[in-house]
């Protein structure tokens, strides 16, 4: 056990699974970085250096730099998965789903079902989500609600290094297509991460903090914002329970419902959009199945319904912060701010 960053945790998960199973390959744009470029062949490991070093160990047959052809190489990864490999396809920014959406939601997601269960598609798509780097509207989205709309996909949103490693190992071993969403602002987060491989089952939420007054469900990076808020709220005598679903499909509805049954109050903190998003999804689930426990409105703390601005000051307004979480908790507690 040693302290590792989220970046290292992801890298280690891939490395260990590639060692364990020769069917695992990594494919994407600049996952090695330097193919045919005349200098070092292992120069990038992706723009955030997450997959750095893997080419050196596994070679170009298993760590494949691709042209800028997302639809092509993700379609290819699906075919390769059907053919017995376990590809990890790297979609650099989740926003680029735009150019390969068909492959993901109409091919990968429906392959098993439409063909009556003949095949497994053990494909993991790793992709970066989230705002905070001022890289604006086409590089900063959180699109896991869109992925979650489609049956046949599993969707993972790890909020910390420990979960990133364990969930990624589960994703690679899973026999269904999994979209693994890495928040770009979390790569430098450090915590204890076991050296040996371990897996975390999908559909099991993590209790981030116990508390009896309000249930806060938070996803990905927002778990940390929720924690920040809860710490301040605790000083005010309000005790928040924080739940991190970790996977949006499957979603651990039981844990959320149990917590709301105990607290009677729910705040959902999510960086994805407010319309047809995960906050709405969870709120609606509780408004149907946990209604009798509810003592207050369900508050969604999300960005506004807008594209993401480049300007840092505006981007800061876009992303939910602790102050907004605190205000939401005050509201469900009936306090005036």
């Amino acid at each position: 056990m040693a302290k590792k960053s989220y970046r290292q945790a992801v890298n280690e998960a891939i490395q260990q699974e590639m060692r364990r199973d020769s069917a695992v390959i990594l494919i994407g744009e600049d996952v090695a970085g330097g193919a045919g470029a005349g200098g070092k062949d292992d120069a990038w490991g992706g723009p955030m250096a997450v997959t750095k070093g893997l080419l050196a160990e596994f070679g170009a047959e298993r760590v494949v730099d691709t042209p800028i052809s997302e639809a092509g190489y993700i379609g290819m990864a699906i075919g390769a998965a059907a053919g017995g490999l376990r590809p990890i396809a790297d979609l650099m920014f989740n926003d680029f789903i735009g150019v390969c959406f068909d492959q993901v939601v109409n091919q990968a997601a429906k392959y098993r079902y439409m063909y009556g269960g003949q095949d497994s598609i053990p494909l993991t798509i790793r992709t970066m989500i989230g705002a905070g780097l001022s890289i604006s509207a086409q590089h900063s989205q959180c699109l896991y609600p869109v992925f979650s709309y489609f049956a046949g996909l599993k969707v993972v949103v790890p909020s910390c290094p420990y979960d990133a490693k364990g969930l990624l190992i589960s994703a690679i071993r899973d026999n269904d297509p999994v979209i693994f969403c890495e928040h770009k602002l979390l790569y430098d987060m450090v915590e204890e991460v076991p050296d040996s491989p371990y897996s975390i089952p999908f559909g099991e939420a993590r209790f981030v903090r116990d508390g009896g007054d309000v249930t806060i469900v938070a996803l990905s990076r927002m778990v940390h914002i929720a924690l920040e808020a809860a710490t301040i709220l605790a000083e005010q005598g309000i005790d928040c329970e924080i739940i991190d679903p970790r996977t949006t499909t499957p979603l651990d509805v039981e844990t959320i419902l149990e917590s709301v049954a105990a607290t009677g109050r729910l705040v959902i903190v999510d960086e994805a959009g407010p319309r047809c998003g995960m906050a709405a999804d969870i709120a609606a689930m509780v408004a149907e199945d946990g209604f009798s426990s509810l003592k207050a409105p369900i508050i969604k703390v999300t960005p506004p319904h807008s594209p993401i601005p480049a300007a840092p000051n505006l981007e800061k307004l876009y992303i939910p912060d602790a102050a907004r979480v605190i205000a939401a908790v005050h509201k469900v507690m009936g306090r005036k701010d």
Partner: protein, 326 residues
């Protein structure tokens, strides 16, 4: 490669089976109980059959929405094919896919698909997996003339080339993408000439001539198998029916199909070449024709008699965990 007489008779049987199957489907469709969109392969038989004559069990054929012919050519159980088209139990996709989604892993037939052109990308993956796993197999992706205009196809062709994947891409140019003329939609008109852009060989072949298609595909398959990379084959042909059943086809010039049926029908062409070589063979072909006729009767009878999928299996086959046996 020279084909044995048995191989040729098998090819003829398949072509005839497809023709009868599709002609019958054209009639049955008017009864109103064939679900969904149905795209018939009649007229194009020589293509899929000649492709499949070049393939082994290890290989993968990527199907398109015009899926019946390739499925029969590849050797799928014709009863299971018919049941799938009727969306019944015993269908190759357990009734979940229907006519346009014939997919039969047991015979190496993959991915019939509503995403025009997707088979080419999936085929790259099948080829990559075969190579990485050392199975010795190759992949052949079928695609229509319309598919050349889908972006993903260009992406896949480029990747197949730079990685020299063991892949053959067969563009079945039947002249139309739905109601749109291939010559209108495709800049430069000739699909096979696009091959040069992707640094691979491109071959054009007349699709009514089984022997010509067989040879062209054979060259490409040899190239793929020996690790030299992909080839584009453009098969010129014509479909005898509409884009899908129900299509009034007023976009087609009058008499086009009749003329083609007369001059270039693939069964006629096969028959005349085959008999010219060994005149006594006519009787063998006649026998096949008769056998196929009665087979088709039985296939349709059984398909229409089969039960629909069980309602309580609705949520099966979505995830690996739902793949209980039924």
């Amino acid at each position: 490669m020279m084909q044995s007489s048995d191989q040729l008779l098998l090819a003829y049987r398949k072509m005839r089976t497809i023709r009868e199957f599709e002609d019958r489907m054209h009639l049955e469709f008017t009864r109103g109980d064939v679900p969904g969109f149905v795209h018939l392969y009649a007229g194009q038989e020589a293509s899929a059959v000649a492709v499949c004559a070049n393939l082994t069990d290890r290989d993968v054929l990527l199907n398109t929405h015009r899926a019946h012919g390739p499925a029969i050519a590849r050797g799928s159980d014709i009863y299971a094919v018919a049941k799938e088209i009727y969306c019944r139990q015993g269908g190759i996709c357990r009734g979940r896919g229907g006519s346009a989604h014939l997919h039969d892993v047991s015979v190496g037939l993959w991915g019939a698909n509503s995403g025009v052109g997707s088979g080419v990308a999936l085929g790259c993956g099948a080829a990559l997996a075969a190579r990485n796993r050392g199975t010795g197999g190759i992949a052949v992706a079928l695609a229509g003339d319309g598919a050349i205009n889908q972006g993903v196809v260009s992406e896949a062709l480029n990747m197949a080339s730079i990685w020299k994947l063991p892949l053959v891409i067969v563009f079945e140019n039947n002249g139309y993408a739905e109601a749109t003329g291939a010559d209108y939609a495709i800049a430069g008109k000739d699909i096979y000439k696009r091959a040069a852009a992707f640094d691979m060989p491109g071959i054009m072949v007349e699709g009514h001539d089984y022997f010509a298609v067989y040879d062209a595909v054979g060259k490409a398959v040899t190239r793929a198998r020996s690790g030299d990379g992909p080839t584009i084959i453009e098969v010129k042909q014509l479909r005898y029916y509409g884009h899908f059943e129900g299509d009034a086809q007023s976009y087609r010039p009058r008499g086009e199909v009749e003329q083609y049926r007369q001059d270039k029908d693939c069964l006629k062409t096969f028959r005349s070449i085959f008999i010219a070589e060994t005149p006594g063979n006519a009787a063998q072909l006649d026998a096949i024709d008769r056998e196929v006729m009665s087979l088709i009767d039985d296939v349709y009878a059984q398909a229409r008699a089969a039960a629909f999928p069980a309602d309580d299996e609705f949520m099966h086959y979505i995830y690996a965990s739902d793949c209980q046996e039924s």
